[in-house]
Every structure is written in C-alpha cells, then in structure tokens.
C-alpha cells in the first residue's frame, strides 16, 4: 500500500503536507458560513410560515400548529383567482408600478445627465432639494394628495398612484443615474460630438448602452419602492385601481379573519419581487450601492 502511493504521487510528502496545511488554514474560517446561513434562515422562516398557512384550510390553521399542511389545499388560491375583485387588484398594482417606473426613468435620464455633466445656476441646491423629497414622510402627503388628485378627478386611477409615487422615486432615480453617469468619462461625449453625432443620437446610440446597467438598477429600485408602498396607493384608490395589498384588508370582514386567503394573497405579492430579484441577481450587490462604491 505504502509503496503504491509513493509511486503514484511524485511528491508524496509534499502532497500530504500541503493537504494538512490547507486544512489547518481553512479550519480557522470554517464556521464563517454559519452567520449568513443563520441569517438567511431567520429571513426565510416567517415567509415559509406564510406559504405554509396559505395551503391550509382555515379550520386546519385554527385547529393547531403544524410545520407543513396536513391536508394541502388550493382553496385559498382559488378564492383569489376566481374573484375578479381579488385578481384585478393584482393587475392594478402591476399597472401603476410599471407606469411609475417608466415615468421615473424617462424624466430622470435627462436630469441625471445634466447633474453629472454640467454646472448650472442653483444645481447643488436643486439636487439637495430633490433628495429632500425622498426624505418626506408619506404620511405628510396623504391628505393634500387626496385633495389634489380629487381636484383633477384622478382619484382611483392608475396614473394618480404612478405620479404620486414619483414623489420619492424620481429623486432616487436621478440620484442613482447620476452616480452611474458620472462613472462614464466625459471624453466619450466629446469624442461623439467631434464625430458629428447629434445629441439625441449620441444619447441613444452611445450613452445609453454604457449606462444600461444603471438604468436596470434604477428600474429595479423604482419597481421595488412603488411595489412595496401602500399608504399613498390606498389613499388614492377606492375600487378601480385598488392595489392587491389594500385588498388584503378585506379578509378581516364579517366572518372574522380568513387566515388562509390572507396568507395566499400575501404569498402572491411576494412573487413579483422574487422574480425581479432573480433577474437582477448578478447586479444586486453593485446595484444596492447605487453605483457609488
């Protein structure tokens, strides 16, 4: 046996010493994975519990704890999918979120370009003022919003929520895009103008591809903050544009809590976010640093 190993490995002693040393070097760090793992478990368990409840009948939920559904049922989901007043709220949410994302990016792109490339009268104050809107407590705005959109007869429309969410998303979009644009050397602009590009062509053909990931990150954040916001969305809608998150309060109606349906509706609101994260997973870390690391 001994002889065998020695003929097979040209440097048996080295190989063993190496294995040993790598082992001892790793040993010191081998428990590091425990911390993120424990944290992820802490994040996942409450979500799992929601999923667990969503597959149980209300009776089973109330009859005692079980770590998984004993009699799995799709009833809760069927309730939502067969009732237009439920599933339409889902599309309502999607509609205003997408509208908001598009509006934010379209108006933020030129502004971010201006802030990243030019100095102009009052630029710094303007930038800080924009950011202050991100700091405005939504609770401050709900009453005036209601009156303002009532005056324009926009209550209970998707566009009303989309525009209202611009309050905090546009400043954020300008801020993130400005960070990414400042990372693009100015020489690129100048070269393009020397080559005879007009501004719109330069912006579309050359500049946009360079900041594509920044636009993606911005869209992600606009989507995220518009999707998770409820206070304003609920205030500005009654039925036609009501978000799914607001519809969930229905479950506490006449017959008391319908936990199963509540859980199922909750699970459904997690799915779009999870999908979006999956698509941007390779840019998440950089994205959350807003292009400013």
């Amino acid at each position: 046996m001994t002889h065998d190993t020695q003929t097979m490995a040209p440097f048996p002693v080295d190989a063993m010493a190496k294995a040993h040393s790598i082992h001892s070097r790793r040993a010191r760090r081998s428990f590091r994975w425990l911390i993120p793992t424990a944290y992820v478990l802490f994040l996942i368990i409450p979500i799992y519990w929601l999923v667990n409840l969503s597959f149980k009948t209300t009776n089973e939920i109330l009859s005692g704890l079980s770590l998984w559904p004993e009699q799995p049922t799709l009833r809760n989901y069927m309730v939502i999918f067969t009732d237009p007043s439920w599933y339409e709220t889902y599309f309502n949410s999607m509609t205003y979120v997408v509208m908001n994302t598009v509006i934010c990016i379209v108006v933020a792109l030129p502004a971010a370009y201006a802030f990243s490339r030019y100095r102009f009268l009052g630029d710094k104050h303007l930038f800080f003022w924009l950011l202050t809107n991100r700091m405005a407590p939504p609770a401050v705005f709900i009453l005036p919003f209601f009156q303002l959109y009532s005056a324009f007869a926009l209550i209970d429309t998707h566009i009303a929520v989309a525009i209202a969410h611009c309050l905090f998303n546009v400043p954020l979009a300008v801020w993130i895009l400005e960070g990414f644009m400042s990372g693009v050397p100015k020489e690129i602009d100048e070269t393009a103008y020397i080559d005879g590009y007009s501004f719109p062509r330069f912006f579309g053909r050359i500049f946009m591809p360079l900041i594509a990931s920044g636009v993606g990150v911005t869209a992600f954040f606009c989507f995220m903050f518009s999707w998770v916001e409820l206070l304003i969305a609920r205030t500005l809608t009654t039925t036609d544009a009501k978000p799914i998150a607001a519809a969930m309060t229905r479950t506490s109606s006449a017959t008391g809590f319908d936990y199963g349906v509540l859980a199922a509706a909750g699970v459904l609101t997690i799915i779009p976010g999870a999908l979006v994260i999956w698509f941007v997973r390779n840019h998440i870390a950089k994205g959350f640093a807003l292009g400013r690391v």
Binding site: P10, F11, D14, A17, K18, H20, S21, I22, R25
Partner: protein, 356 residues
C-alpha cells in the same frame, strides 16, 4: 535576510497536471543570493506573478519546495515568511498618517514603542518623507504612496526579501526614473534582497543584478543584463530584450557553415551537437552591419533614433534590423555582414554552443 532558493518548484492551478503545458509555472531550480537585486521579466501571462505569489506565500506551489536560507517555507503563511511587498497599485492605510503607516507593521509585531519611533524616523528619512510624516496617507501622490508601501517593508529590520510587483505602473513617467534610482540607492546602501516583477526590460535591466526571463510558464534564462544581451539562451530572450530585438533567420547548418537560402554564413565554430528540428541563426542588430560586401539585402526604411540609425532591410524576404552610425553613408547596393562575436545558433529555440 536569507538566500531564497527554489527546489524543483512547479505550480499547476488545475489538479493532476500531466503535460508540461498543464503547469502555469514549470520546474525551476535556482537560488537568489542574499542581498541580491533580481528582476522577473516577461510578457503578461508568462508566470512571473505566479512565481512572485509563491515567494510571498499567497500561493502554495503544487510541487517542489521553497527555501529561505535553508529553511523550508513552502507551507508557511505570508506572515511567517517575513517578507515585504510593494504592489502594482499603491496600498496604504488611508485613515492613518504616513508615520502610523510605517509604525503599523512594527506595532503588529509588538515592538517596543521607543524602538518603533526610532525605526520609523529612520525609515522616513530613507524614503524622503520626513516632512510629510503627519499627513494623512491618502492625501499623497501615487509615487509617495508607493514609497510608503516600500517604507512599511524597510522599517522591519529582519525582512527576508522585498518584493515589487510592477510598482511603477501608476507612476508618472518623470517620477519613474527618480523612484527607480532611489530604489537602487537603497539597495546599495542597505543590501536588502529585492525581487522585482516587470514586463519592462529597461526597468529590469537597470534595476537588477540578475534577471530571470520567463516565457510561457518557463524560466528561459537567468543571467546578468550583459549575459542576456550577449548570449541569449533562448530565441525569446533575444527577441524580448534589446531594441530592436535579435534578428532570427532559419538556416541549414553543415559543419561551420550556415546556409540562408543560397547564401552562406561562417559560424565561429561547429555545433557540438545539433538536435533535429528547426535551426535559427540569431544575430543582434548591434552585430549586424550594412556594408558593400556580404549577403545582399533590400533596405526598406531607415529610422533615426539619435546617436545611431536603425536600418530595416529584407534578407531573402525576411525583415532584419541593423545599426548604422549616424554619419555613415549607406552603400548603393547594400549588403549585410554579421560580426563573428555576435553570432548565435538556436536549435528548436534553444541556444546551441559553438566551437570547441
């Protein structure tokens, strides 16, 4: 300080290397003299950084041993090897002052505060940053930051070697020369063992006592700058070192005569043994003369580079370079001659000894 020696050292990044091509670093057996200045020279991807990382302990070689003064350090961690390193990009501790940066390695090793102060002041003097001792390190220029990096090595009296990983990459051109000569001065005065990785031949040749030329994971020659110039052991050395590089012409050899097509060149001696395969004649432009007689060539262009001119000519359809004095008129029917002292013969890229 200690001699650094490589004992059958090889490295492969992938497991179970079989062919020589599987190794990022092929076998090397050599010793770096204590107090010597060495350069690892070669194009990117030649394995010089792999070798440096093995010396610094960042990488463990897959085969062979690394010794510091007779002690096997192959499996020691970076800390235990007692080396210093200057990186390609300045690495300084931003939040510390220059003084604190230099004191840092000593404090970590629990050196007595009074002694730290003495050593740090000394080192500040050596690298010429005494006046900026209490500035924040991040407010300095790139070359000053590189000096701090160097200083953190110099401040420790017992370093086995100071490693430099292309340290002048981010330095302004006019500062490069100054920094390099300062390094040279420090080396002469204090006698540290220095190992300098670069792809710039000027840096390597002016800095090092001995240059290790690497090519495709292999050490092709270790020698003084003069040796590399006069007797390149490999066609790559001839091509890579010198500007312009060595002229290489495929030849057929019979006895003391090398045939380039219909033309014959007399070698300084017969090859002792000539392996089968590709044979090349190698002559540096410095040993190539344009003259009235010899092998006919067509001149393509003449570059004036100051003290002399570089003549680019075609010999049997192959471009060669020759040096000519500035004043020397070029003949109307140009020929080329090779000076006997500069003639080298290569079989399969490796130099063949000529003569008795």
């Amino acid at each position: 300080m200690a001699e650094i020696s490589f004992d059958r050292l090889r490295h492969a990044y992938r497991p179970n290397p079989q062919k020589p091509e599987d190794f990022a670093l092929r076998e090397i057996n050599h010793a770096f003299r204590d107090g010597g200045a060495y350069a690892l020279l070669g194009p990117s991807g030649c394995g010089k950084t792999t070798l440096l990382n093995i010396i610094s302990g960042l990488l463990e070689p897959s085969h062979g041993r690394l010794m510091f003064g007779g002690r096997d350090v192959t499996h020691l961690s970076t800390q235990d090897r007692n080396i210093a390193q200057v990186f390609q990009f300045p690495v300084v501790y931003d939040t510390m002052s220059v003084y604190e940066n230099l004191a840092f390695p000593l404090r970590n090793r629990g050196v007595d505060p009074a002694e730290i102060d003495v050593k740090v002041r000394e080192t500040l003097d050596m690298i010429g940053l005494s006046e900026r001792a209490h500035r924040k390190a991040r407010r300095l220029t790139a070359d000053q930051k590189q000096k701090i990096s160097l200083g953190r090595g110099l401040v420790r009296a017992d370093v086995n070697a100071i490693l430099f990983d292309e340290p002048l990459t981010v330095i302004d051109p006019h500062m490069k020369w100054e920094l390099r000569s300062q390094l040279k001065k420090l080396h002469r005065r204090f006698g540290y063992t220095m190992i300098y990785v670069t792809h710039d031949q000027t840096e390597a040749l002016t800095f090092a006592d001995e240059v290790v030329v690497m090519y495709e994971g292999q050490v092709v020659q270790i020698g003084t700058p003069a040796e590399l110039f006069e007797r390149p052991m490999h066609t790559f050395v001839g091509y890579f070192i010198g500007s312009p590089g060595m002229n290489l012409m495929p030849v057929e050899v019979s006895g003391e005569i090398a045939h380039i097509g219909p033309h014959a060149v007399t070698l300084p001696g017969a090859a002792r043994s000539l392996p089968a395969g590709r044979t090349d004649l190698g002559v540096r432009p410095e040993y190539t003369r344009i003259s009235e007689t010899g092998i006919p060539v067509q001149i393509r262009k003449v570059e004036d580079v100051g003290r002399h001119r570089i003549v680019r000519a075609l010999l049997e359809g192959r471009e060669i370079a020759a040096l000519a004095d500035e004043s020397e008129p070029l003949p109307a029917t140009p020929h080329v001659q090779f000076l006997p002292g500069g003639i080298n013969l290569y079989a399969n890229s490796w130099r063949v000894e000529l003569g008795a």
